[in-house]
């Protein structure tokens, strides 16, 4: 649309032709390429009604079945939850649970009876669940030293383990830090009638942790020797890589209500089976109003018993199908032929 310069050519009449040729040869004109001229081949999708409706519809079609499947899977999971922190306190001490838990002379043994509501296929996962325990608390979550755990040469390294770095006489604690110090120490054993249900505590931790994070040649030392005992004591003759309870505990939970795997029971349980749990209620959650629960649960491909995902998928899928119809309707009611007037403008 712009004209070339020929109109003004009179001014350099004589040498015009030579000049043009010369110019073309050594022009400073930027080299033409699709990239520099911003003309790269491109796809320019536009959100047409067809697209909008099909995307919603497609999402709906995918999400609803997934939702149904996950809901069914979650329904399949059988879960027995028993809160025992309250029940295990002797009736005379319910007003002062803290005194109860701190008093070593009182036996912490406790028995709970559980009834299986539905058949449970093995493996049955045994979890303990803590409520209101902020394993993600900033002061807590930082109080560890991972280098110390995987290398015996670094067992003296206790940086960032405050306030559980050294014993009173200044010896480094292995494993140091608040997390290890507060290791959960309730224990459970299960019987069904006379039959002892063995809890398999092997492989409850991540293989990667056992092999790379907790070394085979690092042994607990000076652990739980302080004035205040936080939790479980560790057998100092067993290397850290085999202290699976510790390994599980050290994988700090993301949320203040969390479960930790205690072990697995490789026995099928039938409905209405009665299970006797003998537990020692050692762990102090009374200081901060935390709850302790014992959980027996089966698992599916989707994890534990949680309906949320199934419902979420169903709702979203449903919503999308609804939106697909709503948009179809809207487009039918108020169709707009593609493109004909610019709002502030009349197209000539």
């Amino acid at each position: 649309m712009m004209m070339d310069g020929s109109a003004a050519g009179t001014s350099n009449g004589g040498s015009g032709a030579d000049g043009d040729a010369a110019r073309r040869n050594n022009t400073r004109m930027p080299k033409y390429s699709k990239f520099t001229q911003q003309e790269l081949p491109a796809c320019k999708p536009i959100l047409t009604p067809k697209w909008v409706v099909s995307v919603f519809f497609l999402v709906g079609v995918v999400f609803v079945p997934v939702g149904v499947v996950s809901l069914l899977a979650a329904q399949d999971v059988v879960e027995i939850i028993d809160r025992y922190d309250h029940a295990c306190v002797p009736p005379n001490m319910t007003d002062n649970k803290l005194a109860y838990i701190k008093n070593d002379t009182i036996s912490k043994e406790c028995t709970r009876i559980l009834t299986v509501t539905k058949e449970m296929k093995q493996p049955i996962y045994v979890y303990y669940q803590l409520d209101n325990f902020y394993q993600n608390h900033r002061r807590y979550v930082k109080s560890r030293n991972d280098a110390q755990l995987r290398d015996y040469k670094k067992s003296n390294t206790t940086t960032s383990c405050d306030p559980e770095r050294f014993t009173a006489d200044g010896k480094p604690i292995v494993p140091c830090g608040l997390i290890a110090w507060s290791l959960f120490n309730d224990t459970y054993s299960f019987t069904r009638g006379k039959e002892n249900l063995t809890v398999n505590k092997k492989d409850i931790s991540w293989k990667s942790d056992r092999e790379h994070k907790f070394a085979k040649n690092v042994y607990p030392s000076n652990f739980q020797n302080g004035a205040l005992i936080g939790g479980k004591k560790l057998n100092s003759s067993i290397p850290l890589s085999e202290q699976e309870d510790l390994i599980v505990w050290m994988r700090t939970a993301a949320l203040p209500t969390f479960r930790k795997l205690y072990g697995r029971i490789y026995v099928d349980l039938k409905a209405n089976d009665t299970i006797t749990v003998r537990l020692s209620n050692n762990y102090n959650t009374y200081s901060f109003g935390g709850k302790k629960k014992l959980v027996l649960s089966t698992a599916t491909w989707l994890g534990g018993k949680n309906d949320f995902l199934g419902f979420a998928y169903l709702i979203v899928g449903g919503l999308c199908i609804f939106l697909a119809f709503a948009f179809t309707l809207l487009y039918l009611i108020k169709p707009r032929l593609v493109a004909f007037e610019l709002r502030s403008i009349t197209v000539k």
């Binding site: 310069g5 930027p30 205040l228 203040p256 209500t257 949680n306 995902l309 707009r336 502030s344």
Partner: protein, 1214 residues
């Protein structure tokens, strides 16, 4: 319309004015009585009194940059107040005051007589003495680089920390080291800042390295310098003040020097100043006869010159050649660094300014930095985000306080709080462990929260914007549709921080000459003795070749002649014809043109090129040649004109240069017939004052009529007069002249009065009309700009008729427009016409409410009225009228008024302004406007130097604004909003988690991920998309200029969009956080796994969000968007493969579960639904122009694809 004669004094349409120092013309003017001292250089131009007509002129009249008189051909430049502007940095009113003060010393140097304490003494050929203390002049090395290896780190850091944002991040980084806080690990805490600093430092280092390299090249060039009586090569950097330097043809000058002798016996040297001011024509410089006579080896003496200053058109010095009388030196005696010696075999000079004292270096400051409107608006939103940040942090610390208050008794024993150190070794803090009381804890929480949530204020944004602007600038520069073939001028981005402003321009203020017009003059018609000769139809294109010594000389440019006039000149008899011949003789002689003979392929034919600084003069001389009066030779003392084949020699007895006060020039010629004639050529307004109307009243009348008609077709007119001088008159003049030119004080005024004394009682010969041709494509460009809703104002120094006619020819004015003309001679009448105009505007406005049927209005106002209006503070009214008009044409305006007009709009509206011009007189306006554009054309480089962007042609404004401006604006606004959104989303995710950690600032997301988030995981796509994405094709944007309105209406970046995107950001963060939260509630999930899920989902989500808004998917876009998702994934995997981090192996574990994938999908879909639905609704039910145009484009494309033949025709590029 008023007759020309009554027009107010400033008369701009004058063209030919010899600004080139012509002192040599005086040297031989009379062989018997040689003038003792040649006429000094253009002193007249510097008088501050010239500018009295301008408001606040007294403040602004410093002349540091009197670049103006170099361009007198421009009408604007000849307006009265013009020359005295300090153009480089002049701003009206308050600003100018300070700048004046700053330049006081420079002014003193140029304008007053030299005092010893203001002078520098240069001992010729005695560098050691010259440079002895206390002088200590700098050496001649040039250093444009900023850093050396040693100083790089401290200096670069110092410079970078000048930015407030960096200080913010520095404070955060330092805060992080407070042991009680240490939110992030030490390494992670400094990473963001280090990254930003590092990238910038690398960029700076690279640029500086390039500068170093070019400095080195420059400094190591050699020149031959006199040492021990012989010229020896010496490196440039070693040249010292006082050295005698010898140059040969085509060599570049290494420093500023005073010319002492040349190969030419008269002491002439020609230089090309293209590197200095962009002018390609040759300028003459003169060596003093006194210095010429001494061989350089024997030269001794002292030059007393002013201190270094920036004025490249002024130089004041005297030379004292060992006891002889001091000789004054002027601009015509110096050659400045950067110029090239041409057409001169050799020249010898004495270095007076070296290195950083040279004028070219002093003038090489960059453009002032401006701030883009988008950035200003962005700061508003950043403040909003800062408030949001404070709110978030306050909420967290408040909740933390409440929680601690609730658990105050238990804090000591809660295993995860552990207020006391029980391990026993705790000697510190009486057994407390990191506990300073609830109050302090709350404060620490607040500060930790600031550190944790710092990316709420996007750190990457600053650096992203810089990268994006570099990218956008690259594409603008590379655009070969903005490349000017003729001048080989590429588009230049001189300011890198206002690219996006180009998309929001509402007002364009354009200079006329050289911008709308080519400043390439063509002689069109002449009024000779009351007869109009403008019929060139039957005429031949006549270069009028002449034969001399067997060689045919032909002017380079042919001019079409009027056969009748040609016949009259050639064969006419009688007084009329001889007057006509006088007229053309005047055109051929009364100028400062130098004929340069060029060889052609044919040895028997040669071309004559007329070199001169004024295109008008060139046009007139070419015209005179075509009409048989051919200038063939000009030496310092005589002119040879070939009159119809016979060579005639005229002695130049005297010459009064053009000056903007007189607005005319005159030359005293001794003719072969022993008569002495005074030819005067000048603007009509000035000429009619000195013409004796009684001599030929009919001619005067007719000429006035012709002048009027010439100027109404857009021609630039000149009036020519003659007077024969008697011998006594001449001698009287000569004595006065000699006295004036040697006066030590007030030389300028004296010379002016000498000129005024002789320039009187002139006989009118006639007038000429020269056409200033429009630049290519100007009418089309203006039309496009108008369609785009941009108001184009033309500010010109031309007179009203010329301005209006140019207005018509470039389609600025149309016939259906109602013109409001304000040109008043008095304050009173000006006020009255302004009031009339307002009532007219109001009447028209009330008549037509419908914007479609509105009568278009044009305001035409002249400089004088503007002065009155600005004087009487009636700006408000003027503004009212002006904005109601579609077109505003300001004629006869002075440069500072140009800036004043721009300021008028800038102050009173929020609309963006753009000023475009090519001359030094446009500098003030270019700097005042939001965006300044310099045309790199024939005029000097001042406009380009002051501009933010420079280009070759006015018409490139259309692609620049409509295409690149539009793209830049769209891209940048989206990028800023997106950056806010993406960082806020992440911060909100962190925030929700904090609510579940006992209000302590821990994160599930790995700290490295949170640091890398804004610099690695999500930054590349924003930058690339903001550089490459195009909402509409170039073709569509040019076809529908209305689309430009999107930027003017700020459609792509406003508070509404900001709120929308922030709401979206909150929603998405809720989705990202709570879907996994609810799914993993009461499960054994560990924080690292959940953190990885959150990291990945937020990164994927924001990238998909971007992907949904990308309009054009090229392979680069695909690569960068999907690539950064993949890169994030890889980073997460790498981080989780470090065994010493608590999250070791989490990603592998979690990726092995179906729940992870199901959640990821759910998060993305649920997160995107509102954005997607809103987008669908917006695009379908309330589409904006851009959306509609996109759809048109798309349907056009598919139509093209279906009909290949159509595609053929449309795809051929212009």
């Amino acid at each position: 319309m008023r007759p020309d004669g009554k027009l107010p004094p400033p008369h701009p349409s004058l063209a030919p004015l010899p600004q080139r120092p012509q002192q040599a013309t005086g040297t031989d003017m009379d062989p018997h009585a040689r003038l003792p001292d040649p006429v000094p250089s253009p002193i007249l131009k510097h008088s501050p009194s010239i500018s009295r007509s301008l408001r606040s002129a007294a403040d602004t009249s410093s002349v540091t940059f009197a670049a103006d008189f170099r361009s007198p051909s421009k009408p604007e430049s000849t307006s009265p107040s013009f020359d005295s502007f300090r153009t480089a940095r002049s701003r009206p009113s308050s600003v100018s005051r300070s700048s004046t003060r700053r330049s006081a010393s420079e002014r003193a140097g140029s304008q007053r007589d030299l005092r010893d304490e203001d002078a520098r003494f240069v001992y010729i050929n005695d560098a050691p003495r010259t440079n002895a203390p206390p002088a200590m002049f700098p050496d001649n090395s040039i250093r444009t680089s900023k850093y050396s290896v040693l100083t790089f780190i401290p200096r670069n850091l110092y410079e970078q920390f000048h930015r407030v944002a960096y200080i913010y991040f520095l404070i955060l980084a330092v805060l992080n080291f407070v042991p009680q806080l240490l939110v992030l690990s030490k390494e992670a805490g400094v990473l963001p800042l280090a990254f930003v600093l590092g990238v910038t430092a690398v960029k700076d280092a690279y640029e500086d390295w390039r500068r170093h390299r070019s400095d080195k090249n420059e400094n190591n060039r050699t020149a031959s310098v006199l040492a021990d009586g012989v010229f020896r090569p010496k490196r440039w950097k070693d040249i010292q003040v006082g050295d005698v330097v010898r140059l040969v043809a085509n060599e570049t000058l290494p420093c500023d020097m005073v010319l002492v002798s040349t190969s030419d016996p008269t002491g002439v040297a020609y230089i090309q100043t293209i590197n200095l001011d962009g002018e390609s024509n040759l300028k003459t410089r003169y060596a003093k006869q006194e210095t010429m006579s001494t061989p350089p080896e024997a030269l001794a003496g002292v030059i007393k010159c002013e201190k270094p200053n920036r004025n490249i058109y002024g130089f004041l010095a005297t030379v004292d050649l060992n006891g002889r009388r001091a000789i004054s030196l002027g601009t015509s005696n110096v050659m400045l660094r950067g110029c090239e010696l041409k057409n001169t075999v050799w020249a010898i000079g004495v270095a007076v300014y070296t290195g950083r004292d040279t004028k070219v270096v002093l003038n090489s400051s960059g453009a002032p930095s401006k701030r883009s409107r988008l950035e200003t608006h962005m700061n508003r939103e950043i403040i909003a985000l800062a408030v949001a940040l404070v709110v978030l942090c306050s909420v967290v610390s408040l909740l933390a306080g409440i929680w601690m208050g609730d658990h105050v008794d238990q804090l000591g024993i809660i295993p995860f709080f552990h207020k006391y150190d029980y391990s026993g070794a705790a000697a510190h803090d009486d057994g407390r462990y990191n506990w300073y009381g609830t109050g302090a804890q709350v404060v620490f929480t607040f500060m930790s929260a600031v550190i944790q949530f710092q990316v709420m204020i996007p750190i990457g944004l600053i650096i992203s914007m810089e990268l994006i602007r570099v990218g956008q600038a690259y594409f603008m520069v590379q655009d070969n549709r903005m490349f000017d073939e003729k001048s080989q001028a590429r588009f230049q981005c001189r300011a890198l921080n206002i690219n996006e402003d180009l998309g929001q321009i509402k007002y364009v203020f354009s200079d006329k000459t050289g911008t709308l017009t080519q400043n390439r003059m063509e002689f069109r018609c002449a009024s000779v003795q009351g007869r109009d000769f403008s019929e060139t139809d039957g005429g031949e294109e006549d270069g009028h070749a002449v034969q001399a010594d067997g060689v045919v000389l032909r002017p380079k440019t042919a001019v079409t002649t009027d056969p009748k006039l040609a016949a009259l000149l050639k064969d006419g008899m009688g007084a009329k014809a001889s007057r006509a011949r006088d007229l053309f003789l005047a055109l051929a002689t009364c100028n400062t043109i130098v004929p340069i003979v060029e060889d052609t392929v044919n040895p028997a034919a040669k071309l004559v090129e007329y070199q001169g600084e004024s295109p008008d003069e060139q046009a007139l001389v070419y015209a005179a040649a075509a009409y048989g009066h051919k200038l063939v030779e000009r030496t310092s003392g005589h002119i040879v004109v070939d009159v119809f084949g016979t060579r005639q020699r005229f002695d130049v007895l005297g010459l009064h240069e053009f000056d903007s006060d007189r607005k005319r020039m005159s030359v005293i010629i001794g003719c072969p017939d022993k008569t002495i004639k005074l030819f005067v050529k000048g603007a009509d307004s000035s000429m009619f004052g000195i013409i004796d109307k009684t001599l030929n009243p009919d001619v005067v009348q007719a000429t006035e009529k012709h002048l009027h008609s010439y100027s109404s077709v857009g021609l630039r007119t000149l009036v020519i007069g003659v007077r024969e001088l008697s011998q006594s008159e001449f001698q009287e003049w000569q004595m006065a002249y000699e006295k004036a030119s040697t006066a030590l004080l007030g030389r300028g005024n004296l010379l002016r009065s000498v000129a005024a004394n002789i320039e009187r009682n002139m006989r009118l010969l006639g007038a000429s009309g020269v056409e200033d041709k429009l630049q290519d494509g100007v009418p089309e460009a203006i039309e496009k700009l108008r369609e785009a809703g941009i108001k184009v104002w033309v500010l010109t120094g031309d007179k009203q008729e010329t301005a209006i006619s140019i207005g018509y020819s470039c389609k600025l004015l149309t016939r259906d427009m109602t013109q409001i003309v304000i040109n008043s001679n008095s304050r009173e009448s000006c006020r009255k016409s302004l009031d009339d105009a307002i009532s007219m505007v109001n009447k028209l406005r009330s008549l037509s409410t419908d914007s479609q049927s509105r009568v278009p209005l044009a305001l035409i106002i002249d400089g004088n009225s503007l002065v009155y209006i600005f004087d009487t503070d009636r700006e408000e009214k003027l503004f009212e009228v002006a904005i109601a008009c579609d077109v505003v044409l300001c004629c006869r305006v002075a440069p500072l008024q140009k800036a004043g007009i721009v300021d008028l709009i800038k102050k009173r509206t929020s609309d963006m302004t753009l000023a475009i011009g090519d001359g030094a007189n446009d500098v003030s306006m270019i700097q005042m406007a939001d965006v300044g554009i310099g045309i790199s054309g024939q005029e000097g480089r001042q406009a380009v130097m002051a501009s933010d962007f420079a280009m070759g042609q006015f018409r490139f404004l259309v692609p620049l604004l409509l295409v690149h401006g539009h793209w830049n604006y769209q891209r940048m606004s989206y990028m800023i909003l997106y950056n806010f959104y993406r960082n806020a989303t992440f911060v909100f995710v962190l925030f929700w988690y904090v609510l579940y950690t006992g209000y302590t600032l821990s994160t599930a997301i790995n700290e490295w991920s949170s640091v890398l988030y804004s610099v690695v995981y999500t930054s590349a796509p924003t930058v690339i998309v903001a550089i490459l994405d195009k909402d509409l094709s170039r073709r569509t944007l040019l076809k529908y200029p209305q689309l430009y309105g999107a930027g003017q209406r700020e459609e792509s970046y406003n508070l509404r969009l900001f709120i929308f995107i922030m709401v979206d950001s909150v929603w998405q963060s809720v989705v990202v956080f709570f879907i996994p939260y609810l799914a993993y509630k009461n499960s054994a999930i560990d924080s690292a796994s959940l953190g990885d899920l959150w990291t990945l989902s937020v990164v994927i989500l924001v990238n998909i969000h971007l992907a949904m808004d990308v309009i054009r998917w090229t392979w680069i876009t695909h690569a960068v968007i999907w690539g950064s998702i993949v890169a994030t994934w890889i980073c997460v995997i790498i981080i989780d493969s470090i065994p010493t981090l608590p999250g070791f192996w989490a990603i592998y574990e979690v990726m092995g579960t179906a729940l992870f994938w199901a959640l990821l999908l759910a998060v993305i879909v649920v997160g995107m639904i509102p954005h997607f639905a809103a987008k669908a609704i917006r695009e379908h039910f309330m589409p904006n122009d851009i959306q509609i145009a996109r759809e048109m484009e798309k349907s056009q494309d598919s139509r093209d694809a279906n009909q290949p033949e159509v595609q053929m025709s449309t795809s051929t590029r212009a």
